[in-house]
Symmetry: C2
Subunit: 199 residues, 2 copies
Amino acid sequence: MIDKLPTVKKLMRHLHQVPFLATKNLYRVTSYFLQLDQERLQQFCAALQEAKSKIILCNVCFVWQEKDTDCVFCADSSRDDSVICVVESWHELLVIERTQAYRGMYHVLGGVISPLDGISASDLKIDELVTRAALGVNEIIFALNQTPEGEATSAFIARKLQQLPLKITCLAKGVPIGSNLEFVDRLTVSKALTDRRSF
Amino acid sequence: MIDKLPTVKKLMRHLHQVPFLATKNLYRVTSYFLQLDQERLQQFCAALQEAKSKIILCNVCFVWQEKDTDCVFCADSSRDDSVICVVESWHELLVIERTQAYRGMYHVLGGVISPLDGISASDLKIDELVTRAALGVNEIIFALNQTPEGEATSAFIARKLQQLPLKITCLAKGVPIGSNLEFVDRLTVSKALTDRRSF
């Protein structure tokens, strides 16, 4: 039936590209946009285009910033610029910011090395990180996701940084707070055991 | 941090309205749109606005149709116009079409009666269905979702149709094909027992 509605099909082809819209949900999202009134739809498109034109990446830490203002982190003199936390993307940065436990700088890689997805080291902001680190940073904290790709990327970058006089750390691995040991996977428990610390 | 990026915040407020985008996914979807190149973003907005201007509801069965063509169902003379299948929305219609087991007409209600969500009978295409039914239809099939609201809406419409000389049916209730009885809920099994049929 969709084949007989080319305009709807075209819209759905575009929506299909958006992450987190599974095929089943696509119909509902399409309905949502078809039912939106003209004015709201205009506003939606305007917001998309405004964001596209006004939001750029900071050329130091690669976090999104408004074109006409300074980077939220780089321009904040209250933050400790001798520590850089390396994250995969903006979302992980937000997670760390939400803890309010970190007051250093960030470096957004823009992904992790993943040959299967065609992402190599040169697609990421790794050289920029090495350049930044060489300017006199005390510590680099790896906060990439705990995936094989994330671990491999950390190892790759650590090798590039090993000549520099700085501390390289990564997030502690162990049992999550509030967790029931019974439901924690074997690897995590064994890691928590070997990394045990005095109480 | 989002508070310091008003343009991003505005875009996220718009995206937040879209169904099936949970707050966690919102960041990734926002990134997706920020990373989209200018041309693709233009095309996306154009597709949205084209759909908005070109797609209308058929004024008989209330299925989406292209403005300059006939309704896919109403104009199809090979379909049996003496049977009307009543569905909640477009998605359920597509599910039924996909079975290729139905060659009658449809009537899209546009929702179900749900006082908690502020949806009353007058918000739906119920009067239009009664008018259609009065024009000489043999059978009305209720294919609303198996929710309390769906059942109540079916009952409400059935009462409105009871004066008319037509058959009112609903989808069979029973154990799903391929299911393991152990995992089917009690109510469904008991319904399947009382509605049992000769083998």
